[in-house]
């Protein structure tokens, strides 16, 4: 049983941890980003945060995502993986974005292919291409969000 006051304390500690992590990155240098194809040389020298917000549903940023973006504002590069309807909002804040087809879109597309392999590889490439120093999740983790597809048959007949 978590005491109601504990949540605030945990968030506070997380914020302290994030600030500490950012300071460490600046002192000791960011992760090696040699393979991060989507970072310019300048951005490779800075810190990168990657947020998975795959289940954003509204036309506006959810409170959770807004809060997360505020917390990560110290990162030079912030990338959000989210549905495209919030791209323009993210762009106006100077963030970058990626997207993945939602499970329901995949199912209704009628395209039967090896989606599990495609999504696993795509998720891995997003991580590799951006070389994040820090990853956060708003809503489900990508592996949970795509669970039904990733755990399905390799030749899933999704049509």
């Amino acid at each position: 049983m978590v005491h109601p006051g504990n949540g605030i304390m945990i968030r506070h500690l997380r914020n302290i941890g994030l600030r500490f992590a950012l300071r460490s990155l600046r002192i000791f240098g960011a992760a090696d980003k040699a393979d991060a194809l989507l970072l310019s040389q300048q951005r490779k020298r800075g810190s990168v945060a990657l947020i998975w917000a795959l289940a954003e549903t509204g036309d506006r940023l959810s409170a959770g995502l807004s809060e997360k973006l505020a917390k990560l504002s110290g990162f030079e590069t912030v990338v959000v993986v989210c549905p495209p309807r919030v791209f323009s909002l993210l762009r106006s804040e100077g963030h970058f974005f990626e997207t993945l087809p939602a499970p329901d879109e995949i199912l209704s597309s009628g395209i039967s292919s090896n989606w599990a392999l495609y999504l696993r590889r795509r998720i891995a490439r997003i991580r590799k291409n951006w070389g994040p120093d820090f990853e956060a999740v708003v809503g489900p983790e990508p592996e949970v969000y795509f669970e039904a597809i990733l755990n399905g048959s390799e030749d899933s007949g999704l049509s």
Binding site: L37, L39, P83, R85, S88, R91, S92, E98, S113, R125
Partner: protein
């Protein structure tokens, strides 16, 4: 899929081969037989060579089946419709089953100097290994038959020829009448150097003489360049500048001579002249094909025949009758059933070769790739084409546009990849990224067709296409370029089709996008919304929740990502201050970064895509003259003040706005001229001026189906099904 005749054919031959196929398809239908076509790519042409438009039209008119990519058809007779297709570069993935298979030989193996027109050494092996049949040849004439026999193919020759056919109804008979001097002597051919004699010989058979005018349609420039001064009695017309039948009607005598190295396999141009009933003067060897229907001569003897024919009406009448009789008896459409019966064979109990492929019920995928753009132009055209392709295919968007949500919201599976510009990436590094993403997507989606809309196919993109190598590729590319872009033009060769959506202001186009006219085909303007789909004024206002009685001004000044529209905006606000009856509605692009906030109480901001159906809601509009807005507003007859985005990176929006203003379709002003904008805005309040603009726009009818034209063309070239029923049958 069961067919009587399966044509494995290249649809890009500019001359007789395509014309003969056109009439074969018509004749086949008239004979009650079912024909299908599998388009192939002969090594004779550049990949992006434009298909023969008359042949494409015939395919549509006859309802000829284009065999979808994943279909393995069964046919009573399969015809490989040109010997150049029996080549190691020609690929036929799904194969076919046929009772009998022939290669129709439209050309002799060698010219008169012994130079091969095409390679024949692997014919038997390719026929057996790739087409699972013995090599069997159907020459189109005895000229070709003798050549094949001379070069060791007697064993493969079928006893019958596959005669070219013609529909005499397409070539009304020229009435024989008294002639006036000078005689009109003419010829037509595709503009190839081989199709004309040497300049010295040409002056023998087409002499400078006051009694003759020589009309020539389809003459290559390098032939004309050989003359210091062109003979004064020659009239030159470009290839296909006039309908062939119309050209032939203008002649008194037809005279066809060619280079001394060329061998005319059949002489389809001569057949067209005979069908018109013209007396034809041609080389002696064509007697094998046209018997007594022509006059045969050497080039130097031809003028004597012209003189004889010119003075002897009875001879011309007799020649006309003989010509039409031969065409009817040997080359008329009703001959198809006979030639078919000669080559058809009893069905085999089991088909050789690869077994029948499992038939998949999946609809083929079309991968629609759009560049980033500063607006929605690329994406909008692709959406219009996707809608026209219909439910028989699954369109997936793979876009660099940050506005990709518009495709997703219309129900398409839509992927997005970041573009280098906003990331400030080195272009080469970004291309490495895009190659990996594109290549992965191609392997995953296995598209039958990749459609690209953008001005520059990125190297990462074309490299991925080449690496994958299994799909048809089309480049949709609007014109009106401001400057030459040779690097972009050089990439046409990666595509099977380069299609330019039509421009109403085509006359203003400097032609930089058409450096290779043989590669680029044009269609009508591409619109998301057809005029017939527009809601009326009241319904549109209700749908948009806009007041019924107000004077409504539509504002669409673009994303303003690369051009400052602040002057027009400020003037609009002043205009609203002075005219309280006007409400302006600014439909924001999904690419707009930020709202301008509450700038004016009667300046409403909305988001809606596509807007086309609702254009009748507005009394007038103030818009940038991007491709889509310009054409949609004119198609909707919406009085518009166009203010071009003059950024040098965009298409020539200034030309578009200017052309429309001169034509009376719209008003125009530059964004930097507040006085002109003010003047034009005032005009838009005048109901009479608005009506004049509207009426001028409404004159443009029947030219808005570019998206449908592209879809029809790509269904043929990429072998896509025509409807969901077609795939299920």
């Amino acid at each position: 899929m069961e067919l009587d005749v399966l044509y494995l054919a290249d649809l890009r031959f500019p001359g007789g081969t395509s014309t003969s196929l056109k009439y074969d398809l018509r004749a086949c239908k008239q004979a009650g037989l079912r024909a299908g076509v599998v388009p192939l790519l002969s090594p004779l042409f550049a990949r992006c060579q434009i298909p023969n438009s008359a042949l494409l039209a015939e395919i549509e008119a006859t309802g000829t089946v284009i065999v979808p990519q994943d279909e393995r058809p069964k046919a009573r007779v399969a015809l490989l419709y040109h010997p150049s297709l029996l080549d190691k570069t020609v690929h036929l993935p799904a194969g076919f089953d046929a009772d009998v298979f022939y290669c129709v030989v439209h050309q002799p193996t060698r010219d008169r100097r012994g130079r091969p027109y095409y390679r024949t050494e692997h014919w038997s092996g390719l026929a057996a290994d790739w087409f699972a049949h013995d090599l069997r040849l159907l020459p189109v004439s005895d000229v070709v038959r003798e050549d094949l026999a001379r070069h060791g193919f007697s064993h493969a020759l079928h006893p019958a020829n596959w005669n070219n056919l013609i529909d005499p109804q397409d070539f009304p008979q020229k009435r024989v009448q008294e002639l006036t001097s000078p005689l009109k002597i003419g010829r037509h051919s595709r503009p190839s150097r081989d199709k004309l004699p040497s300049p010295q010989v040409a002056l023998q058979c087409y002499p400078q003489h006051p009694d003759y005018t020589h009309l020539m349609m389809g003459v290559p420039q390098d032939f004309l360049d050989a003359f210091d001064t062109l003979p004064w009695n020659w009239q030159i017309y470009s290839f296909s500048s006039r309908p062939v039948s119309e050209f032939l009607q203008s002649l008194d005598i037809y005279s066809y001579f060619h280079s001394d190295s060329w061998v005319e396999a059949f002489g389809y141009n001569v057949l067209e002249a005979l069908a018109t009933g013209l007396p034809c003067v041609v080389p002696h060897y064509l007697q094998e094909t046209f018997s007594e229907a022509c006059f045969y001569a050497g080039p130097a003897e031809a003028p004597q025949l012209y003189a004889r024919l010119g003075s002897d009406r009875a001879l011309r009448e007799e020649a006309s009758l003989r010509a039409r009789a031969l065409v009817g008896s040997r080359f008329g459409l009703d001959q198809f059933a006979k030639k078919f019966e000669k080559v058809v064979e009893a069905p085999k109990t089991s088909s050789p070769g690869n077994g029948r492929l499992p038939r998949t019920s999946e609809r083929p995928v079309v991968l629609s790739v759009t560049s980033n753009g500063v607006g929605l132009g690329h994406l909008t055209r692709q959406l219009a084409i996707a809608e026209s392709l219909g439910p028989a295919v699954k369109v997936v968007f793979f876009s660099l546009s940050e506005a990709i949500e518009v495709a997703r919201s219309m129900g398409y599976l839509a992927e997005f990849r970041p573009f280098h510009r906003r990331l400030l990436l080195d272009v080469d590094e970004w291309n490495a990224f895009f190659f990996q993403e594109m290549r992965e997507a191609l392997s995953h989606y296995k598209p039958s067709l990749v459609l690209f809309d953008g001005n520059m196919p990125y190297s990462g993109f074309v490299d991925a296409l080449e690496s994958y190598g299994k799909c048809c590729r089309a480049w949709i590319r609007r014109g009106l370029w401001r400057t030459p872009q040779p690097d972009s033009i050089a990439r046409e060769g990666f595509f099977d089709a380069v299609i330019e959506p039509g421009e109403l202001c085509e006359a203003m186009d400097l032609g930089y996008s058409r450096m290779n006219p043989d590669s680029v085909s044009s269609v009508n303007p591409v619109l998301m919304t057809q005029p017939a789909q527009l809601l009326d004024r009241a319904a549109a206002r209700r749908a948009l929740e806009l007041p019924e009685a107000a004077t409504l001004c539509l504002v669409q000044l673009g994303s303003e990502a690369n051009f400052n529209m602040s002057v027009p905006r400020e003037l609009l606000f002043d205009f609203l201050d002075r005219h309280p009856q006007v409400i302006a509605v600014d439909f924001r692009s999904p690419l707009h970064m930020k709202s301008h906030g509450d700038i004016h109480e009667r300046f409403l901001q909305r988001r809606l895509f596509p807007l086309g159906r609702y254009l009748k809601a507005f009394d007038f509009a103030v818009c940038a003259s991007g491709y889509n807005t310009f054409h949609e507003n004119i198609a909707a007859a919406l009085p518009t003040l166009f203010i071009p985005n003059s950024n040098p990176e965009t298409d020539d929006q200034d030309a578009r706005a200017l052309h429309g203003a001169r034509a009376g379709w719209n008003l125009a002003s530059t964004a930097e001229d507040p006085y002109e904008i003010e003047t034009q805005l005032r005009k838009l309040l005048d109901a009479e001026i608005r009506q004049d603009l509207s009426l001028a726009c409404a004159q443009k009818t029947g030219c808005w189906d570019g998206a449908g034209q592209i879809a029809r063309r790509l269904r043929i070239q990429a072998r896509l099904p025509w409807s969901t029923q077609a795939t299920a049958s």
